[in-house]
């Protein structure tokens, strides 16, 4: 009942060739993006990748140098921020310190929706109930905890039922436990209000758990767009592979390409079968062979006959405990590979032991070596 009361339809947001520079620094470079109505989309990237600039362009705090922003098919180029009908949650919450919680939440109603007193009061109460803060409405922001301020900021952003909600690293200031709880709450609120959300974060796990769609940004451009799962399983380049989760990016040389399979040489050692390259590649080209650490299968070398060894052979260099898994660093020639094994399997691997590493062919991917992703210094195994 409460959910239907606050429900709205989300706006479709389209960015067309959007560019913005600060002096000689290009912050956003020809960005094109289509956010379907009602989607929760995250802009994910390291600091300086242009995600906050993109958000500020959508909000109207910045004017693009080139390109256009369409909200519901209408260009907002000439619309000032206060007429864009957007809600926004800021990194530092930015609650008005001289207003009570109720006055903060009611602010957008006073400014834009010319509602009757009773209707306003009802809406504020509805929003406060949604974020579970009804009992604190007479408090001032400084009297609230970080998590409570965060919820007030959500309520203020949503009270006028905007069709688009922008969030700028809203959970950055909270501790881990609270952050996870707020992630779930924000998801729930998004589901119940139905507005389109553009969420900026540099935290890849936050983007993966919360979003319908993730836009990975790198050096002012989009590195890849996709569902969290698609990005994790099928990164398009070394940067995305490296930025999302743990990954092995093994420098390799393509030996043979075929329609269904290709073969690569790692260093000057084994020739390994890999799935066909998702990019134009010819024999002799350099590439990265990408495998997630959890997709690696490890066997003690002593338990495998030399003639049966289909994978790479390496030496365990490091073993660290991470609660649910053990992480291993394994030296293979000059490369160091990362692997994860479940707790109960770990007994058979000790530092200094030889292990055989293998993976199923479709767990691996070939990524272009010339990507604007991981630079050469970090192109090894990370």
């Amino acid at each position: 009942m409460e959910q239907s009361a606050v429900r709205t339809s989300g706006a479709r947001v389209r960015l067309r060739n959007l560019s913005k520079s600060y002096g000689a620094v290009v912050a956003v470079d020809g960005l094109t993006l289509d956010v379907p109505a009602g989607t929760f989309v995250s802009l994910l990237g390291p600091s300086g990748s242009g995600k906050t600039t993109t958000l500020n362009l959508i909000a109207g705090f910045l004017t693009p140098d080139a390109g256009d922003i369409l909200i519901d098919e209408r260009s907002v180029a000439d619309v000032p921020p206060h007429r864009r009908n957007i809600g926004m949650v800021f990194q530092s919450y930015s609650l008005f310190p001289h207003m009570t919680v109720a006055d903060n939440v009611g602010f957008p109603l006073r400014m834009r929706a010319k509602l009757s007193r009773d209707e306003s009061r009802k809406r504020i109460a509805e929003m406060l109930a949604l974020v579970q803060l009804s009992h604190l409405k007479a408090r001032y922001p400084r009297q609230l905890s970080g998590g409570q301020q965060q919820r007030v900021a959500m309520a203020r952003a949503l009270v006028s039922r905007p069709r688009l909600l922008l969030m700028d690293e809203p959970l950055g200031a909270l501790d881990k436990k609270l952050r996870e709880q707020m992630q779930a709450e924000i998801r729930n609120i998004h589901r119940s209000v139905g507005t389109t959300v553009v969420y900026v974060t540099h935290d890849q796990s936050e983007a993966l758990t919360m979003s319908d769609l993730v836009v990975v940004m790198h050096r002012a451009r989009i590195a890849q767009i996709g569902t969290p799962r698609a990005l994790y399983e099928a990164p398009a380049n070394a940067f995305v592979a490296d930025f999302l989760g743990d990954s092995n990016l093994i420098p390799a040389t393509i030996v043979k390409t075929a329609e269904r399979e290709c073969a690569v040489r790692i260093g000057n050692r084994a020739v390994i079968a890999a799935p066909p390259a998702p990019f134009a590649a010819a024999a002799g080209d350099r590439a990265f062979l990408f495998v997630r650490p959890e997709d690696m299968t490890l066997q003690p070398a002593s338990s495998v006959q030399p003639q049966d060894r289909s994978g790479l052979v390496g030496t365990v260099k490091e073993l660290s405990f991470h609660g649910d898994v053990f992480k291993l660093s394994i030296a293979v020639g000059d490369d160091v590979l990362k692997a994860k094994v479940a707790r109960e399997q770990c007994g058979s691997f000790e530092v200094g032991r030889q292990v055989v590493i293998s993976w199923t062919p479709n767990a691996a991917r070939l990524l272009p070596a010339t990507s604007d992703g991981a630079s050469s210094s970090e192109s090894g195994m990370r």
Binding site: A59, G60, F61, P80, P81, H82, R84, I86, G87, M88, F90, S92, S94, L95, F96, P97, H98, F107, P108, R110, M111, R112, R156, A157, S160, L166
Partner: protein, 295 residues
């Protein structure tokens, strides 16, 4: 924990802590000696004299609070100081606001222009008003040359000339204090107001202005206290009707040689200004004026 540790190693810690106390005291000593000799001692003398000169009685204070002359001078002082403060605040606010929202070069440029008169001596500035406002001064000459008036306007030796000069002297300080207070207002609050439906004027009215008020009160108080003690400006630019308390004290001391009366008046002025500062400190916390914590 520390208490126990301190106990077991008592002798060296004692030495260390007493040294820790002595060094700051030594460093403060020259300054304290200076203040004691040139400020506290004269103040005590002044206090003693205000009673002693009148045969060890409150006579000087009785005169202060009963004589119509002092009542009138006090009223004039408070009235002049209040008006000057309000005008200074009204004129300084927009300048401080523009300083707050401008960046880099423009801010530096405005600050320079604000400070140039501040670096000029008060007496020089006051005399320059004599030149500007006199019957043969620049303003009257211009007005007559352009035919706007035919006889020179009486711009000098009245409350207009006193106020205009006082405000001019007070403005740089007022602007700087307001600017300091405004800088501490979080600019993203304005962005938050705008994205949630407030136009520029509404964002200013509902968010920026209310948040700037503590700074306005603080600046007002400081400027008011400062204006209470003005001497040169009303003396040079005012008529006897604009006499302020500092001038009266001067006359008592240097012309009537009634040092007892002058001391009493000086002390009362000091007590009033200290009281105002104390009230402010109680309610607005004085160090906030100088960029201390907002807590």
């Amino acid at each position: 924990m520390t208490a126990i540790a301190g106990h077991t190693t008592a002798p060296p810690r004692m030495a260390a802590s007493s040294r820790q106390r002595i060094i700051p005291a030594l460093l403060l000593m020259p300054c304290l000696a200076w203040i004691s000799f040139f400020f506290l001692l004269p103040l005590a003398l002044m206090c003693w004299r205000s009673f002693a000169a009148k045969g060890y009685s409150f006579a000087a204070y009785t005169v202060l609070f009963t004589s119509p002359l002092y009542t009138k001078v006090m009223l004039t002082t408070v009235k002049t100081a209040s008006i000057a403060t309000v005008i200074a605040l009204i004129l300084a606010y927009p300048v401080a606001y523009v300083l707050t929202i401008s960046g880099g070069f423009r801010r530096a440029l405005i600050l320079t222009f604000v400070f140039i008169p501040y670096w000029v001596d008060i007496i020089v500035r006051t005399f320059s008003w004599l030149i500007l406002l006199g019957d043969n001064g620049l303003i009257n000459k211009l007005l007559m040359a352009t035919g706007i008036v035919h006889t020179p306007l009486e711009l000098l030796y009245n409350s207009f000339s006193v106020l205009i000069a006082m405000v001019q002297i007070l403005l740089p300080l007022t602007i700087i204090i307001l600017f300091g207070a405004m800088l501490r207002i979080d600019r993203t609050l304005i962005a938050a107001a705008k994205i949630h439906g407030a136009g520029s004027w509404q964002a200013f009215r509902t968010v920026f202005f209310p948040l700037s008020l503590p700074g306005v009160y603080g600046a007002g108080l400081l400027v008011f206290v400062l204006s209470l003690g003005f001497y040169v400006t009303p003396a040079l630019l005012g008529s006897p009707r604009q006499t302020m308390i500092a001038q009266t004290i001067m006359v008592e001391a240097s012309e009537l040689l009634d040092w007892g009366q002058a001391s009493a008046a000086g002390l009362v002025l000091l007590i009033i200004t200290t009281l105002i500062a104390a009230i402010y400190n109680r309610y607005f916390s004085l160090d906030r004026l100088w960029g201390g914590s907002d807590a």
